[in-house]
Amino acid sequence: MNTIYLIKLIGEIKDIMAENKDYLIQLDSVVGDGDLGLTMSDGYLAAYNAISDGTETDVGKLLYTAGKAMSVAVPSTMGTLMASGFMQAGKVLKGKTELTDYDIVELFSAYMDGVMNRGKAKVGDKTFLDGLNPALIALRERIDKGESLQAAANASAKAAEEGFENTATMIAVHGRAATRGEMSRNLKDPGAAVAMLIMKAFAKSLAD
């Protein structure tokens, strides 16, 4: 696993966001301003374009560059949070050119830290974190148990999906959805859907 794999991974994320553009627009239209499909497809495309030439061998620098490109392209809530995730992962993995399975766990863990540092949300606040957090737990558990990265990625994608479904029981306390208060319950969180899509793309990037 090296920067070539990361280009593939980010490419898969870019593709899945493009495929689910209308779905994300629809989710965000109900609780927010409806731009999430646009920002996620544009944002990951910008991230991908910034790193896809394959000249960068430093894993950390590649991730940081992807994040910076995303922050310039889509300065929305999720755009900036995803950029912050990439940039934090970049800082943590800086200097590496090869990644172990544990480094992949570290990557997602740092990504989550980046989002949390920037967004100051907690698990349970009905955000992106509620999709990513269960996925990260599943991923770490399986790798700790010695399962293959593919098996762990599949499990984490499933966990992310469950996390996303679960957001329908929570009350939003951040962003536009929060202005609806109690009315936000029963609705699934669009940002958590993004976490689910990322983990699906991750599973796919190992499968093909």
Binding site: D33, G34, P75, S76, T77, T80, R118, G175, T179, M183
Partner: protein, 336 residues
Amino acid sequence: MKKIINKPEDYVNEMLEGLYIAHPDLITYTADDLRCLVTANKKEGKVGIATGGGSGHLPLFLGYVGLGMLDGCCVGDVFQSPSAEQMLAVTKEIDSGAGVLYIYGNYNGDIFNFDMAAEMADFEEGIRVESVVAGEDVASAGPASPGEKNTRRGVAGIVFVYKCAGAAADAMLDLDEVKRIAEKAAANVRTMGVALSPCIVPRVGKPGFEIGEDEMEIGMGIHGETGIRRGKLEPADQIVTEMLDKIVADIPYVSGDEVAVLVNGLGSTPLDEQYIVTRRIDQYLKEKNIKVHRYYVGEYATAIEMAGFSISLLKLDDELKKYLEAPARTPFFTQV
């Protein structure tokens, strides 16, 4: 969608071109980016003040850059945050060694990007940046308990924060002091609004929400965020009373307190109606024995062409009064 525009995707940039054409003595831009607006009259050694946010709120945010108020401003697309990168460019341009203060509204996207910009300014440029977040819409959330995060939206009242902080910076106070003044103004301002009609984001092309021909929504935000209640349109005096009850209870005031009042049209509310509102505010505050030091009436922070208005009260002490009274000259705010 009935708008005097060309292509919706050119809306923001063409508006900006017009703005620079009309006010060349006051504003210019940096980083070859129309959306990175800076003062044309940089004052050496002064603390720089920057703001920013989505477009669609003119005269907010752009219109307050000039003499005695703000030094820079970044805008994004309509109702969308500008990027951290753009804010960094403005920060670099307006810093003259005394540091930079960010003053902006309490919105997720803006907070994240300003925070990121502040980190970049510190790490990459060694510029000290402090931030004051304005959130004073009493309809948007309850007051924050001590230590808790303020979750109220920032609306028109931010103009008072700009004015006081801008005057403090203009008086060559240092960054800590300018920040203290800004925080004091932000802590003493309260706003509430009411909307009668929706607005149309040009690239969306249809109204952001629906509202009946005889309805109003009390407490609605300036992007169409849900308010406190929707009901039949009432006489002006009754609406103002309901709004002031909420605003005044929130501080709370005691007899003899002094305020500045901002009556703000949201876009298509005639000035006549704003003065009818002003009349009732004056009656109300007299009944409560709250003294009005000064009224500001007009469009200060809009939601494109939304019909409706907001009322902001700034509780004054001698210090805030001094900075509020100082002269300023910007594209939309001139006080002598």
